[in-house]
Amino acid sequence: MSNDAPVLPDERGRFGEFGGRFVPETLMTAIGELERAFAEAQADPAFRDELDALLRDFVGRPTPLYFAENLSKRLAGEDANGEPRVRIYLKREDLAHTGAHKINNAVGQGLLARRLGKRRIIAETGAGQHGVAAATVCAMLGQECIVYMGAEDVRRQALNVFRMKLLGAEVRVVDSGSRTLKDAINEAIRDWVTNVETTHYLLGSAVGPHPYPLMVREFQSVIGGEAREQLLGVEGRLPDYAVACVGGGSNAIGLFHPFYMDESVHFIGVEAGGEGLDTPRHAAPLSAGRPGVLHGAYSFLMQDEGGQIEETHSISAGLDYPGVGPEHSFYKESGRATYATATDDEALTAFRLLSETEGIIPALEPAHALAHIVKLVRDVADGTVIVVGLSGRGDKDMEATAKALGVKLT
């Protein structure tokens, strides 16, 4: 990155007005320690070396950048020479160990927890991908792992619950509130408040109090860093668009951030439109919410007039969250990125489209990003290059999609 990159967040953890640390006092000392430990680790070549080695040998990085020629042709057609009018590249985080980008952050924080001398790890999970990533890293590093998961998500993502247990993690089912990701985070924070001296909270997205949004961004920036280099290699130029789905925003910020100073690269984050923004059943705080404080940060939120957090809906458990990382709020307000939505139905259509055209079954979360590509290509010039964050694979979603498509499994 060039030297003019703004140093964000500032020392108070603010991206413009967004971010900060709004947590009970009990956690403030631990959060301060975490911030210092992260800064020291980043400056320590031995930490970087160990992380890089694990990302290579354990996670399987770099992940490929795949030119989705069939999809490109299907969506945008061919020019006179039979070349696709638009070139769509997939950054294949689905090929990372455990099947999603979540592992990048889990490995980083797992190593950091070891540095902090904390052997007890807690995590929240929505789709189960972060829970699986946390459980995987804890198994590898010999750490105790407890994963909080909403009862509704336990139902939707039964396969991942089994995976976590196989990996030696304890899965605690959360029955409060909407019984999804938001409530799992509440419960993880309550655990952390109680056991803060011994416990590291391995938060799975670019949300939460400072330094989490910064830390998760840095651990996920390997996505965009690799993609940038790979694209320059094959195309000899930067992409015109970088597109990713946004739940809490970690895969999107990880893809976008390394392109931040490349002003010609448009960022598009795609939120879960659920049953449509004209209904209350969606999960699109940037598109339809207002700023407020949830889970430790000031950021866009789905809330009612009185500041109570609203229930969300998405077919994708990983996007079913009323908040979003503060850096995305900053990108939205500053205009650096734009945010769109894709509905459940659009995501399902894109899910099938990629499966049929490329032989790649995506997770429902990045299917939202693909759904937006379907619309985007209609308006772009010939020769446009698009990179899409394919944040995870679809195995975990077989039950949910079969049900949505009206197919009965066994």
Binding site: R21, E25, T29, V196, G292, H295, G306, G307
Partner: protein, 266 residues
């Protein structure tokens, strides 16, 4: 009016007692329950009232208060209604100091300026915002100062000396010392390190200290005599309200507070 807090604490001190701050979730368990319950707390001898405004995601609270927050919201309590409720309490003769406790998002949704002004005008004496640590509380504590309301920060056993000093500089009225690393909820015994922690806070500030989280028995309060100026009893009162039939509720709450204050027998 923050002076009322100082006066109430001074009266307890003159009587050689630990002052009792009783907690109610506004609008729990029914929209109109709060005024009569507050009167019962006063009749039992509570020195101050902590009025919790419900939030959908009370992440510093244990199961009891999670339930009371949710129930109050289901029953239609809103933060917008809180000034009116405070006015009703004052009109009903509840004259003890009233401290409003809530989370930041409902305050932001109302508007920080308007919120502080409106609850102060309605008769609130202080404000506790659970998820607003000193680093983030400049705006809110400043507004409280302008409105002559106490801004009560929380400290925890994990707070460093540096943080204790930071919180003390913004505090007025008293400091809320969270008794344990944990969420709200009834506990059997006080933490064994509590004395040492309170001493540490005491060395840094002359402000009165109130201890809360887990306090539920007369013996807890007796054990804090000479160490703390006040205690906050919350989940124990909420549990009792939940467990008691409506017609007996005020009587039972009054009796419990009498036991806590040492006026009545177990």
């Amino acid at each position: 009016m923050s002076e009322r807090i100082g006066e109430a604490l001074a009266r307890a001190k003159a009587d050689d007692r630990v002052a009792l701050i009783g907690y109610l979730t506004a609008g729990f368990p029914e929209p109109d329950a709060t005024v009569e319950l507050a009167k019962a707390l006063v009749a039992g001898g509570a020195d101050m009232l902590e009025l919790g405004l419900p939030f959908s995601d009370p992440l510093a609270d244990g199961v009891t208060m999670q339930r009371s927050n949710l129930k109050a919201l289901e029953q239609g309590m809103t933060v917008a209604r809180s000034p009116e409720l405070i006015r009703e309490l004052r009109a009903a003769g509840v004259v003890i100091p009233l401290i409003v406790m809530t989370y930041y998002n409902p305050i932001l949704a109302y508007g920080q300026d308007g919120f502080v002004q409106d609850i102060a005008a309605a008769g609130a004496d202080g404000l506790i915002a659970v998820d607003v640590p000193p680093e983030e509380s400049e705006a809110l504590s400043g507004r409280c100062r302008e409105a002559s309301m106490a801004f009560v920060p929380l400290l925890a056993p994990t707070s460093t000396d540096e943080r204790i000093a930071l919180a003390s500089r913004q505090a007025s009225g008293f400091i809320y010392c969270v008794s344990v690393a944990g969420v709200t909820g009834v506990r059997r015994a006080l933490s064994s390190d509590l004395g040492e922690y309170l001493n540490r806070v005491r060395r840094q500030t002359d402000l009165p200290l109130a201890v809360g989280f887990g306090i539920s028995r007369r013996e807890h309060i007796e054990a804090l005599h000479g160490k703390a100026d006040a205690v906050i009893v919350a989940s124990a009162i909420v549990d009792l309200i939940e467990a008691t039939p409506r017609e007996e509720r005020e009587e039972v709450v009054r009796g419990f507070v009498e036991v806590l204050t040492g006026r009545g027998k177990v």
